[in-house]
């Protein structure tokens, strides 16, 4: 042992030692830990909450049934999450329920089938919008969006400005906002145009370039399938496999490193490790005490990657009564409506009936601070526009507001305003000494999604093993 090493060891007497500490037991951290254990490393996963899964959370409906109040959908090209789920024995099922979808505009409800809402005014514009977005997103390299031709110009304006410049009018912008309401927990005016086109470019894999249609689609798209037993089960199975290596209620407060390794200070004690993988949301990572400090650019970047504002609202009924009326339970609601998008979230074996709506972005900002009963009423009135007045006859009603979660701080993912990607984007995944990064926000494919989380966990583990 050299002198410095013995000093460091003395400083850290009482701390447990391990090859690698992984911070965060979401899909990214758990995947990274699994890979490292498979490669023969000793690993400790430190998780702030008293549960695993992070942004994946099952809500117990009783009788062994669950419904999800965090991330839930998966689909084609999300190869990493699909393969991982299979490996840990979690099956998928088709999310779409047969029946008509309801489109609500200006208080009037229209039923339709297929992917195209029955709106003569919005449709032509929507077609133009999709074509323009497709062309522009195809020019973005998902691994390096700042290299896009005209990157600075695109990053100098909001997505809404870009859409309007492309002669896309209010109706189509509102339809795009309908998607962003849940995808960003925000709207087109919150994000940079470059960020938004890059986001679309990530809706694919190495062989299938990202498209808006895949991102917004139900069957065949990102909302194609769900997990039997709920998405959190994937995380729970991973944690079981890790067999005692996951430490709950262990929020990490401080990360210090020197040439010999890293000391991680948590509420459940200190760990000393050769290397660390931080797999927590970027903004949350910037709130850990860093010694030495993060490179200023990286810290600035993380501070500029806040999550959107998103709540899931879930109403439970004795049965999915809307199915008898030939309805799928899916609804698309135009501007002004608190809920913009809703789905039938009934468990796969058909009961109890569950409707889930996203309260996101501007609507979250309007309703989150209102008394709970008033908000619930507004949500149920939206549901009633889609499935009729029986929507009021709930047996349970649950909300999960991700902005109120200390270890997530919003949802579903980071949204970058103008200037962030071109000025700071390159600092995203750069290792900081012995510290590596993982998390859905660090993935070039399905960024912000479960698949991105799994990918990032694998990439971070591989990078770490490579440096050894």
């Amino acid at each position: 042992m050299t002198d410095t090493q013995s000093t460091a060891a003395a400083d850290h007497r009482g701390s447990r030692t391990t090859d690698v500490v992984v911070i965060g037991a979401g899909l990214a951290g758990l995947t990274a830990a699994r890979e490292l254990v498979a490669a023969g490393k000793s690993v400790a996963v430190l998780e702030a909450r008293d549960r695993v899964g992070g942004r994946l959370l099952n809500h117990d409906l009783g009788d062994g049934q669950v419904t999800e109040v965090g991330g839930q959908f998966v689909g084609p090209t999300q190869d990493h999450i699909l393969a991982l789920a299979k490996e840990v024995g979690v099956a998928t099922y088709q999310a779409a329920v047969p029946g008509e979808t309801v489109y609500v505009n200006d208080g009037r409800a229209k039923r339709f089938t297929g992917h195209t809402p029955p709106d003569l005014f919005a449709l032509p514009d929507m077609g133009i919008a999709l074509a323009r977005i497709g062309q522009a997103a195809a020019k973005v390299n998902p691994a390096a969006p700042w290299q896009t031709p005209d990157a600075r110009e695109l990053d100098g304006m909001t997505y809404e400005t870009w859409l309007r410049k492309a002669e896309i009018t209010g109706d189509a912008v509102d339809m795009i906002n309908l998607f962003l309401n849940s995808a960003y927990g925000g709207e087109a005016r919150d994000a940079s145009a470059l960020f938004s086109l890059w986001y679309v470019s990530t809706f694919g894999n190495e062989t299938n370039p990202g498209t808006m249609e895949r991102g917004t689609g139900t069957t065949g798209g990102a909302q194609d399938s769900r997990f039997v037993g709920g998405s959190q089960l994937v995380a729970q199975r991973l944690a079981e496999e890790l067999d005692g290596r996951v430490h709950l209620s262990a929020p990490v407060r401080r990360i210090s490193q020197d040439s010999t390794g890293v000391t991680v200070v948590s509420d459940a004690g200190d760990w000393r490790a050769d290397r660390v993988i931080v797999a927590v949301p970027p903004l949350v990572a910037s709130r850990i005490v860093w010694d030495p400090l993060l490179p200023a650019q990286q810290d600035q970047l993380f501070q500029r990657l806040p999550f959107g504002t998103l709540m899931k609202c879930v109403a439970v009924y004795d049965k999915p009564f809307w199915r008898e009326d030939g309805l799928s339970g899916m609804g698309l609601l135009r501007g002004g409506s608190p809920i913009r998008e809703m789905f039938d979230n009934t468990p796969p074996d058909g009961g109890p009936g569950v409707l889930m709506g996203f309260l996101g972005g501007k609507e979250w900002r309007k309703w989150a601070h209102r008394p709970a009963a008033e908000r619930r009423g507004a949500v149920l009135r939206c549901f009633a526009q889609v499935v009729g007045d029986r929507a009021f006859d709930t047996i349970d009603y649950v909300e999960q507001d991700w902005t109120a979660e200390q270890w997530t701080q919003g949802g579903p993912t980071s949204v970058a305003a103008p200037g962030v990607l071109t000025d700071f984007g390159q600092w995203m995944g750069r290792p900081h000494g012995h510290v590596h990064w993982a998390g859905a926000e660090f993935s070039p494919y399905w960024n912000g999604y479960m698949d991105g989380a799994v990918r990032s966990g694998r990439t971070a583990a591989a990078e770490l093993l490579d440096r050894d």
């Binding site: 002004g336 009963a373 008033e374 619930r376 009423g377 507004a378 149920l380 009135r381 009633a384 007045d389 009021f392 006859d393 709930t394 047996i395 349970d396 009603y397």
Partner: protein, 162 residues
């Protein structure tokens, strides 16, 4: 000067106190008043002499900004406001009146009378205009009271009332 009074009545399936609480909230009109797109300024629970403002839908795609002043409050009975911004309608007075009634199956419900008074100058043209706008106004008032009924139902659902 043509003076008009338009009155509609409906039964709201909720006790009077509950109805009164909702209609007293000047921040909530966009949630039940047909044609109120957004409340742009408000003072919470209505207070005599204070104002609130709305963005309203008028005929067809037209929108207008209106400002209302609360004129009279007789708790649990009557509320009178006057409004500006509805040209060509002038001297617009909006009155809500309430009366507790029992439903046939013995529930406490509320009879609501919704009245709008206004003038339209413009002589014969005013008459013509009113013949176009009055049916829409009546329909809006009926829709508003139906919306109020639904709003209260939606907020009380799941609490065992039904």
């Amino acid at each position: 000067m043509n003076h008009y009074v338009v009155t509609e009545t409906a039964v709201i399936d909720a006790p009077l106190g509950r109805v009164w609480d909702v209609i007293s909230r000047t921040d909530r009109y966009a949630e039940w008043v047909a044609g109120a797109i957004e409340v742009t300024d408000h003072h919470g629970v209505a207070t005599v002499g204070k104002t609130y403002a709305e963005r309203n839908r008028t005929l067809g795609p037209l929108k207008t900004d209106s400002v209302w002043t609360v004129r009279e409050i007789e708790p649990l009975k009557r509320r009178v406001d006057t409004g500006t911004g509805f040209a060509p309608l002038q001297d617009v007075t909006n009155t809500f009146e309430f009366r507790p009634v029992q439903s046939p199956d013995g529930r406490d419900t509320t009879e609501m009378t919704y009245q709008v008074e206004y003038t339209i100058p413009l002589g014969p043209l005013g008459l013509l205009l009113d013949s176009i706008q009055q049916p829409a106004m009546r329909a809006g008032m009926r829709t508003s009271m139906a919306n109020l009924n639904t709003l209260i139902r939606s907020e009380d659902s799941g609490t065992g009332r039904r």
